[in-house]
Symmetry: C2
Subunit: 359 residues, 2 copies
């Protein structure tokens, strides 16, 4: 995957859905300069963050796209039937396809035949790479400081927090890298492994490979995108494999203000945040005991800044840690707290650090 495409985002029927259009929204926020158009026949003529919405792939060709990115995360990870024609139009137009759904285009005989005919590459972002295995210990040798975002639940902004902290660090000239571990992160950054899609025995090995690659890409400070939650009844295995395999020096704990139980799991009450902090510190690798450095609070459901600030202050008081909402109030205070907790980090600016890849 290249990170300098002219991207057409496919969001047919979904471009205004905040949940299903998660990948589109992430790419619009963090890879905006590459996006040339969005396809959604139900919203043609509108704009999304200044990007034109068109009805068909044919209408989009005036913007000279080079690749089409599947911008939705559907229920069950399968393509709606009407999408097959949209995808075929893209292939016939010579566009590379970037697909983060569970349903792999590379396993679809009709799509692969058409792609071969038109010389088009099909990138299935969630397909695990070959040769995964258990961690080797290379995660403990990575020449970088590693910070993993963890959380009290799924889908509360761990990827966004990692990206905002990376962006803020780059703005200060730090050789910072975002390390993607899920399909939207991969679609944004152009590399990574969807750790929830690997064989269970190899979660930690996949995470190790990612931090090794993050350092090889020049990162001295790695922000590893977290997944799930240690206390999530469905996804905790992925979370703990990531906690151990990415071998973080420290955590940033993400929490949605006001949440009291795991979304969609009635009765799965959240423990007090100070217990969740203790749990992460207790379960971190004995080789590398990792503290929680600060709390990233998602205040999107609080309408006023005053309410948001009050919620953040209450969390800071409860945990004794600095807390802030990096989307609402900027990432600098969280970054200050994180850097203060990483005293051995080499802060010398580098060419890599000076030039943000996105934003």
């Amino acid at each position: 995957m290249s990170v300098s495409e002219r991207l057409l985002i496919l969001a047919e029927g979904y471009s205004t859905d905040p949940h299903y259009a998660k990948t589109m929204n992430g790419v619009l926020r963090y890879r905006r300069q590459e996006v040339v158009a969005v396809v959604d026949s139900e919203r043609a003529g509108e704009g999304r963050d200044g990007v034109p919405v068109v009805a068909t792939v044919a209408d989009a060709l005036q913007f000279a796209p080079t690749a089409a990115l599947v911008g939705v995360a559907t229920q069950g990870g399968r393509f709606p039937p009407t999408w097959r024609d949209v995808l075929k139009d893209c292939i016939r137009a010579g566009l590379t396809i970037e697909n983060g759904l569970h349903q792999m285009l590379g396993d679809d005989a009709e799509m692969t035949a058409l792609a071969a005919e038109h010389g088009v590459a099909l990138h299935d972002l969630r397909r695990p790479p070959a040769g995964l295995d258990c961690p080797t210990g290379a995660n403990l040798e990575v020449p970088a400081q590693i910070v993993l975002t963890v959380g009290s639940d799924c889908a509360i902004g761990k990827m966004t927090v990692s990206l905002e902290l990376d962006r803020a660090a780059r703005a200060r000239g730090i050789a910072s890298q975002f390390v993607p571990t899920g399909q939207t992160g991969i679609a944004i950054a152009g590399w990574g492994i969807s750790v929830d899609a690997v064989i269970a025995d190899f979660i930690a090995g996949a995470a190790e490979r990612l931090v090794v690659e993050g350092a090889e890409r020049g990162g001295k400070l790695l922000w590893v995108e977290g997944q799930g939650s240690l206390i999530h009844p469905a996804y905790s295995g992925v979370t703990l494999g990531l906690v151990h395999g990415s071998a973080p020096h420290a955590f940033v704990l993400c929490h949605q203000a006001g949440a009291t139980e795991i979304d969609g799991y009635p009765g799965a009450t959240l423990p007090p945040l100070r217990e969740l902090v203790a749990l992460h510190e207790m379960i971190s690798l004995p080789h590398r005991k990792a503290p929680v450095l600060c709390i990233a609070v998602n205040t999107r459901f609080l309408t006023s800044d005053d309410e948001a600030r009050a919620a953040i202050d209450a969390i800071a008081a409860e945990t004794g840690l600095l807390a802030d909402d990096p989307v609402r109030f900027g990432a600098d205070r969280l970054l200050d707290a994180a850097l203060a907790g990483l005293p051995t980090l080499d802060l010398a600016p580098t060419a890599l650090g000076r030039a943000p890849t996105w934003g």
Copy 2:
């Protein structure tokens, strides 16, 4: 898979290796009455627990086997090259194959063609079943008491402890079921899912399916075979997915006397056992907070019973929990402690409970 086969165990070159012959040893211990012979040309003429060892598959046919079970766990889970001929001899002799290695016979064109020609079934025990997904909450509705073995490391006897407790419970007439979660457990019990081989997102869903099936098989008391350890740098993800997906009412914590770090991971020191007890209780489902009921101590490296008893007593004193080695001293004291911790268990004997499947 049937549980009333006449089994030929394939252990060519490995029948005296305590590590690689793990599956053979488990099957000899817990499915002994079905085993008719072992193939190992290097040990032909010897006996293993009273079972004749023969040089070739042809030599074994006098014992009228109906199935051949791959009795070894090789490095990397692949067949040594010389084994292909042994497997082909079995298929030509009409034997069903039960294979717990990572390398799937069903994906091997030569083996599947030969099996089709001879009308032979190839069972790959580690192949995940179709249709796995996230847990649905059915794990919390299972009409049984669920006990999961957990441990301070891999390969210290969690499967054996579960099997010994199941056997002791059956001997008391309790409707008890062993719930297999790995290849050797599956080879012993004849059903199950190898949870380390499923897609990472579906570990908990696979575990849920197993406890549902354990109850459907008549178990009112389920002993779920644990995997890995919450503190294992490579396999912890599988462990936590199993902890949440199997929704245990309680844990039995397994520990090898004298161990101070994770085997093969220098520097991965074990925490005090009382901290490990607290960690499991803290991370158990909020719906169903699970206590550790007792400690199963593996004393195989202590030569005298006095030393073993002293090590067990020290662990009991440290944790405040009953401790014992169920292999060395019998499982009854551990079972008493477990039953005392499951006050709502229906102990009424049933036909199922009265007739142990193995031993």
